[in-house]
């Protein structure tokens, strides 16, 4: 035997161990992948051997390879094998590998339950230790449910080493299996006062973690923590407790007052900077102290000072604002973390007064910033700062638009879409700004080539999306619509991303309508208008060829439209008004959640197909839908026009008629007045091409920072306002007479209210249905595991219900049986009631002996918490079989099946009470159909009564009502009907889960007969 072991380990010497593997990889830097693949082949060979030491070595190497990023999930079963080794050395390797490689979807985890349970109850504390450590990494809901009880037992283990691990892992168990929190909580609370500091610290850790998510459930623990805070000397624990109090104080203001004294004591007495910081953080007494931290040369303290500052900002914004200078200074810091923190602070500090100044500073930083990440961060912050609380702080939107335009000059930013959506938002919601915005956007469009240096990767071209849309939608504000139209149809546009091209094409049509109107208004020759149409006809085919379906479709639609218009123009028909009518109507902003708030009309099922989907064209349709971002639903609805096909003029005219009819019925369209169609007076127009070129050079000159001008203008305006006010004041004073001292000089810093917006800005708020509140909390993540742990631990007492189980023991052998011991493995839900003082795993002694052939009955009491589900408990019976000359110890395994029926108690019910119960409406229904039952009806009822503890309330012919009650007081009503071998049962109960299970059991009963 010993020889075999030695021989095995001699073989083993020639296998690579972990160190050899590491060394090998380091020596094969050039062909690492190849080397590793040969190593993996070796490992596969090693795993095939029976020697557990070889296997463990292989698994150890695999763990390392997993860390290098190789997939080793194929070896999961081998890992389980190594885990179940009896030697600690290998077991530890196995558990380490498992904690690295296993995750919830690893299917072999199911196989580990019993092994882990065995390790948890191992006499060797380190076996238990590694099992707990490993389990903490890969615990699944199933494992948590099966092992919760074992771990709870370990929380009272004699060794503190096990206790602290068991306490800590409970948090993971709670997360995976929230039902365990309630039964485990009393013991967890007990551990807060454990004599061992490590266990105490673990308990504090777990409770703080729980309380952080749902603080209100843990308020009752405050006194206990208060005691701990004054008695504990462990800094780690103190920090945790102080953090916990930080979460509790907002809920219980009295706590704050109580805390001041111990906290100030700690602040004065502690030497640990970390503890001091947490104290200061929680108390938030002294902003001035924080200033010292920020001014400190130690970068860590500076960072934390800023962090704390941002917390104070939420409650006392005034006190932080006075440190604006300091925070702006931090923006110049060389450390990125500190700069980001400072930025965050600025967000909360802006006011109407300082917004422009702060943003100006930030713009300077944008120019200086190296590295796109920081610059992008700055950009988003600028936009966040400006747009916060519905543009509350912006007094001059012209300034804001020009800031946005300046931001578009950033190269390589990823946030083009952000700028674009801001532009759209402002242009739509602030009506007064539209003319200015349109002018700016036209400039942008004209200079599009500056933005699209390297088109594909450059996110900034998203801005053109907004620019094109704004120019099109609000084209009445354009000074040079023709020029813009030309800019939008340049061949270069075809290099833009598809969804932007689509917007270009669509809005070119809108612009076209405007241009036509302008041109037809002037009485001159009609050729100018025709030239415009020709421009479109020349340029659009480029887009018709686009590979993007959206672009193609829109372009071909519009091309046909323009061709038709041109024909009308050639006949001297005035079409402008009618074309404009295509795009009439104003768009209002809609809140993002508005759609959700519209109640679904009765009888409308959104999941039902209106028409069965055609099988072939489905994918194509989807492709079209997914392309092109639909910002406005209305825009979409306009374009459900037929796709491009070769159509003759007649066809086109016919379609036009159809469309007009459609438009007449469509509330979104303003009908074209029929009179305008026949009046045709040609109007002259100044030469477009000439003015166009001039305009082009001009815009180049305008391409410079403009926001600065606005800052200056704004300052001047404010000065003027102030001066005006002062004049008024002075006047008043003068009128009063020149008795008193007249104050000279500056009238002091202006207050917030003094600043009046530059122009009356009407911010259109988003449309929402009346009954909807914007603050509805449908943003919460329903998958947050901590939500499930929000269990009120104080108010609901544990609900224990008892079930008595009678067990009949029958001795079928010829020997005498004695010393029977009955034991059941408790689950969290059901527990065998044991006498006081007995451990949770102790068995109960059966109080009798059995001579051969005799049977006797013993009763055991179980406490059950949840009766909704049937349960199976595993148990063992140990006994001694005594024959004449010897006695042997024997064991019998069994399973106890707790059906849901077993929780029902036969309770009589009178028919009037029964009907009242049914009328109350508290009960939920469910039904069951049994076929092929050929029993007399009364037999059938008797069966239900006997097997499922019901009583008959009333019986009329082949119809009967039955009643039963659960041990927790749930009512259960059945209506049983029979007609030629088919039995239908309509059931009602106030607990649908329980009802479902009982019905299943009834079905089973009848399927067995």
């Amino acid at each position: 035997m010993a020889l075999k072991i030695v021989k095995g380990s001699i073989d083993r010497m020639f296998d690579k161990n972990l160190q050899d593997l590491v060394r090998g990889i380091r020596n094969h830097k050039e062909d690492e992948a190849k080397y590793i693949s040969t190593c993996i082949d070796e490992i596969k060979q090693e795993l095939k051997q029976d020697n557990i030491a070889v296997k463990a070595n292989a698994v150890c190497k695999l763990t390392y390879l997993q860390m290098l990023g190789y997939d080793v999930s194929w070896a999961a079963f081998n890992i389980v094998e190594v885990m179940s080794s009896s030697k600690f050395t290998y077991k530890r390797i196995g558990y380490l590998a498992a904690s690295q490689c296993f995750h919830e979807s690893t299917d072999v985890i199911m196989l580990t339950t019993n092994q882990i349970r065995k390790d948890l109850s191992s006499p060797n504390q380190y076996d238990t230790g590694v099992a707990l450590t490993g389990l903490s990494c890969f615990v699944t809901p199933d494992l948590a449910r099966d092992l919760a009880n074992d771990i709870m037992t370990l929380m009272s283990h004699t060794k503190p080493y096990i206790r602290k691990k068991a306490v800590l892992i409970m948090y993971k168990v709670f997360l995976k299996y929230p039902e365990s929190l309630r039964p485990a909580f009393p013991r967890l609370k007990e551990k807060l006062e454990d004599p061992d500091p490590g266990v105490q610290s673990a308990a504090v850790n777990v409770i703080c973690e729980l309380a952080r998510r749902n603080p209100k459930n843990y308020l009752s623990l405050a006194p206990l923590f208060f005691k701990l805070m004054t008695s504990s000397t462990n800094n780690w624990v103190l920090i945790k407790i102080i953090k916990l109090f930080g979460a509790l104080t907002p809920l219980e203001p009295r706590l704050g007052k109580k805390l001041i004294e111990p906290l100030t004591n700690l602040i004065h007495s502690t030497s640990a900077m970390s503890l001091l910081y947490e104290c200061v953080n929680t108390v938030i007494l002294c902003v001035q102290k924080l200033r010292i931290l920020i001014e400190d040369s130690d970068q860590n303290l500076k960072y934390l000072g800023l962090l704390a500052m941002s917390k104070i900002l939420k409650t006392h914004p005034k006190s932080v604002q006075s440190h604006k200078d300091l925070i702006l200074q931090c923006l110049d810091d060389k450390d990125e973390s500190i700069r980001l923190r400072a930025l965050d602070l600025l967000y909360g500090m802006v006011s109407k007064k300082n917004l422009m100044e702060i943003v100006k500073k930030l713009m300077l930083h944008v120019d200086k910033a190296e590295g796109t990440t920081y610059r992008d961060e700055l950009l988003t912050k600028i936009i966040d700062i400006c747009s916060q609380s519905n543009y509350q702080y912006i007094t001059n939107f012209e300034w804001y638009i020009s800031i946005l335009v300046e931001l578009t000059r950033l190269e390589g930013t990823r946030h083009g879409h952000l700028i674009a959506s801001q532009m759209l938002d402002v242009a739509i919601r602030v009506k007064a700004i539209r003319a200015f915005a349109v002018a700016q956007m036209a400039t942008l469009l004209d200079n599009a080539h500056l933005l699209t240096g390297n088109t594909q990767r450059n996110g900034i071209c998203e801005v053109l999306y907004a620019a094109a849309w704004i120019c099109g939608e609000f084209s009445e504000h354009l000074e040079e619509p023709m020029a813009t139209l030309e800019a939008m149809l340049r061949p270069k546009v075809a290099t833009l991303p598809g969804h932007i091209q689509a917007v270009y094409v669509q809005n070119a049509a809108k612009l076209f309508a405007t241009v036509l109107r302008g041109q037809e208004g002037v009485p001159a020759d009609s050729t100018v208008a025709q030239e415009t149409s020709q421009l479109l006809i020349d340029r659009l085919p480029l887009f018709v060829q686009s590979s993007n379906l959206e672009v193609q479709e829109r372009a071909s639609c519009i091309l046909q439209l323009v061709k038709y218009i041109q024909k009308l123009q050639q006949k001297d028909v005035e079409v402008a008004e009618e074309v404009t009518a295509l795009f009439a109507g104003e768009l209002n902003p809609v809140a993002p959640k508005a759609q959700k708030k519209v109640p679904v009309p009765e009888g409308l099922d959104l999941d039902v197909w209106i028409n069965e989907p055609p099988s072939g064209s489905e994918s194509e349709d989807e492709g079209r839908k997914s392309k092109g971002k639909a910002v406005f639903a209305k825009e979409e609805s306009r374009h459900t026009k037929p796709r491009y096909t070769e159509v003759d003029e007649k066809e086109l005219a016919k379609r036009r008629e159809v469309r007009k009819a459609e438009q007449a019925n469509n509330p979104f369209y303003i009908k074209a007045s029929p009179s305008s169609q026949k009046h045709s007076v040609s109007k002259p127009n100044p030469s477009p091409s000439f003015s166009l070129r001039l305009c082009h050079t001009l815009t180049h000159l305008l391409w410079m920072p403009m926001s600065d001008q606005y800052v200056k203008l704004e300052e001047e305006r404010r000065e003027r306002n102030k001066a005006d006010k002062k004049k008024k004041k002075d006047k008043k004073k003068r009128e009063k007479g020149e008795k008193g001292h007249r104050r000279r000089g500056d009238s002091g810093p202006e207050s917030e209210e003094d600043i009046t917006p530059a122009h009356m800005v009407d911010i259109v708020t988003e449309e929402m249905p009346e009954n909807a509140l914007p603050s509805d909390d449908d943003d919460k993540d329903p998958n947050d595991p901590h939500k499930a742990l929000n269990i009120d631990l104080d108010n609901c007492p544990l609900m224990d219900y008892q079930v008595v189980v009678s067990v009949i023991f029958e001795n079928k052998c010829d020997s005498f049986i004695k010393s029977m011991e009955f034991n059941v493995l408790d689950s969290l839900n059901s527990k065998l009631q044991r006498p006081d003082g007995a451990g949770p795993h102790d068995g109960l002694i059966v109080p009798f002996q059995l001579p051969p052939g005799i049977s006797n009955e013993a009763r055991f009491i179980f406490s059950v918490q949840n009766i909704m589900m049937p349960q199976k408990l595993k148990g063992t019976l140990t006994f001694i079989v005594k024959t004449d000359d010897s006695s042997t110890h024997e064991k019998l395994d069994f399973k106890l099946h707790f059906t849901c029926t077993s929780y029902l108690i036969t309770t009589p019910c009178y028919s009037d009470a029964y009907s009242k119960l049914l009328e109350s409406g508290d009960l939920k229904g469910c039904s069951l159909k049994l076929e092929g039952v050929n029993q007399p009806f009364h037999h059938l009822l008797a069966r239900i009564c006997f097997h499922h503890h019901f009583s008959v309330v009333e019986r009329i012919d082949s119809c009967a009502s039955m009643y039963s009650r659960s041990i927790q007081g749930h009512h259960m009503c059945l209506l049983v009907k029979t007609a030629d071998q088919t039995v239908s049962i309509d059931a009602k109960c106030d607990e649908p889960g329980l009802l479902g299970n009982v019905l299943d059991e009834i079905k089973l009963t009848f399927s067995q007969c």
């Binding site: 380990s9 590491v22 763990t63 390392y64 990023g69 600690f88 050395t89 947490e278 934390l304």
Partner: protein
């Protein structure tokens, strides 16, 4: 717990460690990696996190603060990276807002000191060749991403006891294997130092340690 910065400059490779949403990662980006992630991810994401983290941490100057705001990769803005830099070694923890920043800095110090004690003057090669041991030590400090023990003596007692058990289990059968690997190590120019296997120890002087 004292916060002291040690110096160690003989390392060729970089190492960093990371606590990711109440969890750690240990990273050696050149040829090898030691890390623990306490929220299971697939291998690709893990590698990406490590690369990103290393990229972020390694480009920072000596005199800046030890905190980094977490990007989307490490679970959003609530998490931050806290690191310590010992010559070429980086120990990086990623923590959520429930942990105290300075507390974690102390914890890193405890971890490094514990490594130093357990490996008897730890050097980078120890961490490289004994990834498993590093993991076992870490397991006594942090469990499932939660801090288990901050007392260094307690940690060392438990680690030693487990090592002793391992040795006694190996017994006679372990001896030949130990001898072989000691011989293997002797022949290697790349392993200039003692890695404490068996009784053969080759001490190389003048290697500065953490403290």
């Amino acid at each position: 717990m004292s916060v002291e910065k040690g110096h160690l400059d003989s390392f060729k490779h970089k190492c960093c460690e990371d606590l990711y949403q109440k969890l750690y990662i240990l990273v050696f980006p050149c040829t090898l990696t030691v890390f623990v992630i306490y929220v299971p991810q697939n291998e690709d994401t893990e590698q990406q996190i490590i690369r990103e983290t290393f990229h972020l941490v390694s480009k920072r100057d000596e005199n800046v603060c030890n905190f980094l705001e977490g990007g989307m990769l490490i679970g959003g803005s609530e998490n931050r990276l806290i690191y310590r830099h010992y010559a070429t070694l980086y120990f990086v923890f990623c923590v959520d807002s429930s942990e105290s920043e300075l507390g974690i800095l102390d914890l890193i110090q405890v971890f490094v000191e514990t490594l130093d004690k357990c490996f008897e003057n730890v050097c980078e090669l120890d961490l490289i060749f004994h990834v498993d041991k590093v993991h076992n030590i870490l397991a006594e400090m942090v469990m499932g991403g939660m801090v288990l023990e901050t007392n260094m003596n307690e940690i060392i007692i438990q680690v030693d006891a487990q090592n002793k058990m391992e040795k006694s289990e190996a017994g006679i059968a372990g001896a030949p294997a130990r001898a072989v690997s000691a011989v293997k190590n002797m022949n290697l120019p790349e392993m200039p130092r003692n890695i404490n296997i068996g009784d053969i120890s080759i001490k190389v002087p003048n290697l500065p340690s953490f403290k």
